[in-house]
């Protein structure tokens, strides 16, 4: 089925799901996104947006407030998440973790925290672009790692940690990721990224 760009207020076919709502029996898009209908359900993939936490998300966070028995961690949500943990952290430590719980006021509890090696860098893209940065079966992120020699951890919250053999390598990787995010919805992106990274 051909994919169509919808904007808030557009009627769509299919039962309502995330990013759509029910208006007197009609399904309506609530965001700017790409729409298609699958098995009777309206699917809208938003083209922009901040991180909306869900249980089990793998995220890259930054410790903002170490505490006894845990830490407050910034995961790119309006307010910091809480991580109960026996490990001790410092302000600015970069970690990966999983979302254990999200309550009704969107407070996030994390677990399965791991500190990443120090001296890497963290960049941010819109969370809606993350699937493209990862690619089908990790194809895109593997390509990036291979062609830049960098190690990368991609968080569902739009944060990407990377560390490389040289600062130039990291800079290349960073530019490539931003390029993917900017062109996420165009065809032939994988080829273009291959080309882009082979040039420099």
């Amino acid at each position: 089925m051909a994919r169509v760009i919808v904007v808030p207020g557009d009627d769509v076919a299919g039962k309502p799901s995330e990013f759509t709502y029910n208006d007197a029996g009609k399904t309506v898009s609530s965001v700017v996104g790409i729409y298609d209908e699958k098995e009777g359900v309206a699917r809208v993939i938003p083209l922009n947006g901040r991180y909306d936490p869900h249980i089990d998300d793998y995220v890259v966070g930054i410790v903002t407030e170490p505490r006894h028995g845990g830490a407050r961690v910034d995961v790119n949500t309006p307010f910091a998440a809480y991580l109960p943990t026996p490990r001790s952290y410092n302000f600015g430590d970069v970690i990966t973790a999983r979302v254990k719980d999200v309550d009704e006021v969107k407070s996030v509890i994390l677990w399965e925290d791991r500190k990443v090696p120090s001296s890497g860098t963290v960049i941010e893209v819109s969370p809606v672009k993350v699937p493209r940065v990862i690619g089908k079966k990790n194809s895109m992120v593997d390509l990036l790692k291979q062609l830049t020699g960098c190690d990368m951890l991609v968080g569902k919250n739009g944060r990407i940690w990377m560390k490389g053999p040289s600062d130039a390598a990291v800079a290349r990787a960073e530019k490539a990721v931003l390029k993917i995010a900017a062109e996420a919805h165009t065809p032939g992106l994988t080829e273009r990224i291959k080309e882009y990274l082979s040039k420099e």
Partner: protein, 247 residues
């Protein structure tokens, strides 16, 4: 609004700028024009030039304004000092604060604020050049900026004004007409349902005139709404079949 009813603003069915009574000024809309903001929109409406930007959902400051059930919506309408004839001193004046309030109230039930408890969605409108109708231009741009930022909403709110000039009901008054006109009625609607979300009146209208003005303003709104939707679609026009986009 001096309400003196100058009688040479419409001559032979044409207004001073050549428009017919039911004609809109030209409107141009561009989505996504700022790097730092989460969503943005630049809009030209006749000689009006406005720039709207949205940040959020983000931390709600000051903290005591946090609402555990929904995001706070902040709307700040501001005019650049050079946007008007007599330079305006920087900072909010009473007019700007009133416009901010009624504009925010137009959006509060349209944006799905309950999706973002305790957070804030901040909408900022900067008027760069003013020629009457800035609150409508601003709210129209703000809606596009909200959509551009990915903030979920029921529909794209649109605003437009009708007025009474030279004893005739006209659509979309410009500055000259506003100065010597008899009434000005800005409204904002939810296009899907026609619900009126913002409405103000300056001047005097007989009941029949009010009805006609409302009707004209709604027509104007629907025309501008098309342009809003196109502007958003255009921004992502490069999209083709993003077959690799999987969740």
């Amino acid at each position: 609004m001096s309400g003196k009813g100058k009688t040479d603003l419409i001559v032979n069915g044409k207004r001073l700028d050549g428009r017919k009574p039911e004609e809109l000024r030209p409107v141009k809309i561009q989505a996504g024009v700022l790097k730092r903001a989460d969503g943005s929109c630049y809009l030209e409406w006749g000689e009006n030039k406005v720039l709207a930007a949205v940040f959020g959902p983000r931390e709600c400051l000051p903290k005591h304004e946090q609402d555990p059930y929904r995001a706070r919506l902040l709307y700040r309408y501001n005019m650049a000092p050079f946007s008007v004839e007599d330079r305006k001193r920087p900072g909010p004046d009473r007019r700007s604060q009133e416009i901010s309030k009624v504009s925010r109230e137009a959006l509060e039930r349209v944006v799905f604020l309950e999706n973002f408890p305790k957070a804030s969605i901040d909408v900022f409108v900067e008027v760069l050049q003013a020629d009457a109708g800035t609150r409508c231009a601003g709210l129209t741009a703000a809606s596009v900026a909200l959509a551009d930022a990915g903030i979920p909403m029921r529909d794209i709110v649109v605003a437009c004004a009708a007025g009474k000039v030279d004893n005739e009901i006209v659509l979309d008054v410009n500055k000259i007409e506003d100065n010597d006109g008899q009434a000005d009625l800005p409204i904002a609607i939810l296009p899907r349902t026609g619900e009126v979300l913002l409405m103000q009146l300056d001047g005097i209208l007989a009941p029949e005139e009010y009805k006609r003005a409302l009707q004209l303003a709604v027509e104007g709104c629907m025309k501008v709404n098309e342009l809003q939707r196109n502007a958003l679609r255009e921004k992502y026009e490069k999209l083709a079949d993003a077959g690799e986009q999987k969740e």
